[in-house]
């Protein structure tokens, strides 16, 4: 049986990607940002997930205004980095996990989430920057297959926070009914507070961001009730992309432990937020979230297979 073991929240600021690609990580401005992810890389090396589901948004790269899917699940075998106007980022092609992705699509659509299935897609900084921040900067291959879940947060209205959270729960259920023994980490990306458009550009609201990060473990249900107007007013017009973190949160257990957090202002125009949440280790039969016993025999429940 597959299982989601942990969630990672991270900003995806494009300038972070540019700093990595252009060797600027040692400059004081960028060192402040990257130093906050050293522990996360260590955590990821220990955790060694078999698959990562990355919830992110496309920025006029794979999707123009010709087609604006609210939720689009990447079911392809691979996803090349997109050319965002400066040539594709020099990062490895992202390998998918088409079998698990197809299984998730089938399960969540029958759970009444009308996903768009994508069998061919390029991925932009929205996906690859958070991956660099926690997986490092590999030359040849990313350490695990990735299932991209692209969410429309560019055109208003994006899905509500509540809808995102519920989709996360449906994804958790789908993963749990996959017969192969896989350990899955889910990423929620974007944010935190920022506005990059119009005369109010440059808005940052650290107090609001902190409360959002606190409530991911303390009271996620409260976060699902935040209306869009509050995201835009308090966290900036583009800060609304924080709803994507709620898909990650919904995919975790009700009780989670915050194992790491990092927050800094600014990276370019944006507040950078990062969090790692692990499902609380408690009942016997549940495997711990550390990498040590990662492939222990798992006998508790038989996978539920759909007949359709």
């Amino acid at each position: 049986m597959a299982k989601i073991i942990a969630g990672v929240g991270s900003s995806h600021v494009p300038a972070i990607g540019a700093a990595l690609d252009n060797g600027k990580t040692e400059e004081p401005y960028w060192k402040r940002v990257f130093s906050g992810f050293e522990k996360s890389k260590e955590w990821m090396r220990k955790t060694k997930p078999d698959v990562a589901i990355v919830v992110y948004n496309d920025h006029a790269s794979a999707f123009s205004v010709d087609l604006i899917p609210t939720f689009a699940l990447g079911c392809a075998a691979e996803f090349p980095p997109a050319d965002e106007g400066w040539g594709p980022r020099p990062v490895p092609v992202v390998k998918g996990h088409p079998e698990l992705a197809a299984h998730i699509a089938q399960s969540v659509i029958l759970d009444e989430f009308d996903l768009t299935v994508v069998n061919k897609m390029e991925v932009d900084h929205g996906l690859t920057v958070p991956m660099n921040l926690v997986f490092g900067y590999p030359k040849d291959a990313w350490p695990c297959p990735v299932i991209p879940l692209a969410v429309n947060v560019v055109m208003y209205p994006p899905p509500t926070g509540h809808r995102c959270y519920m989709l996360g729960r449906a994804i958790r259920k789908a993963v749990q009914s996959y017969p192969e023994d896989l350990r899955v980490v889910i990423f929620g990306t974007g944010g935190l507070s920022h506005q990059i458009s119009g005369p109010r550009a440059g808005l940052i609201n650290s107090k609001w961001d902190k409360s959002f990060l606190d409530n991911l473990s303390k009271d996620p249900i409260k976060l699902t009730k935040i209306p869009h107007i509050e995201y835009m007013r308090e966290a900036g017009a583009e800060g609304i992309e924080m709803v994507m973190w709620l898909i990650m949160r919904g995919a975790l257990d009700d009780k989670v432990d915050e194992v790491y957090r990092f927050y800094t202002v600014p990276a370019s125009n944006t507040a950078v937020g990062h969090i790692i949440l692990e499902n609380r280790k408690r009942a016997a039969g549940k495997r711990p979230a550390t990498g040590k016993t990662k492939r222990a025999a798992h006998t508790a429940r038989q996978p539920v297979r759909r007949s359709k």
């Binding site: 494009p14 123009s64 509540h162 440059g202 808005l203 609201n205 209306p227 017009a237």
Partner: protein, 151 residues
């Protein structure tokens, strides 16, 4: 038809790219999208007005693009992730565009960001309606109720 009023129109200095603007700004955004290709960037730079004729743009939209009036582009349906491609075609960094939209110099804008960014205090609302925290909380409650009924 006049634009319908929305709660988010009350946020100062903000043009929310909603479904209505997406419809209205299709030409602006697809023009910007075309600039992802080098040959199109060259053709645009060679004769801007002529190149723009290929897209379904209103005279106001065409003027906003030619004048690089980024706020007006947003108001007429452009989206920042798209219009940023025009900025890049002109060789500008994103921070330059942000400074232009805020009516600031790039230096001052960069300083503001290093100092923690623009404060939300005094920047929440045009009308004063969104000021009261308790009001927005009350709204939150009722909307969550109706949601839980559905789901």
């Amino acid at each position: 038809m006049a634009r319908k009023e929305h709660d988010y129109d009350d946020i100062p200095g903000t043009f929310v790219f909603d479904a209505e603007r997406s419809r209205q700004g299709y030409g602006i955004n697809m023009f910007c999208m075309s600039l992802m290709k080098d040959e199109n960037r060259k053709a645009f730079k060679a004769n801007e007005a002529e190149y723009l004729k290929k897209f379904r743009l209103t005279p106001e939209q065409t003027q906003a693009i030619l004048k690089r009036d980024y706020n007006r582009m947003l108001e007429l349906g452009g989206n920042i992730y798209f219009t940023a491609k025009l900025g890049a075609t002109d060789g500008h960094s994103f921070q330059h565009l942000a400074a232009v939209m805020t009516g600031s110099t790039q230096e001052d804008y960069a300083k503001m960001m290093l100092g923690g960014g623009r404060s939300v205090e005094g920047n929440r609302t045009k009308s004063g309606k969104g000021k009261s925290k308790s009001k927005s909380k009350a709204k939150t409650k009722s909307s969550s109720k109706s949601r839980s009924k559905r789901g």
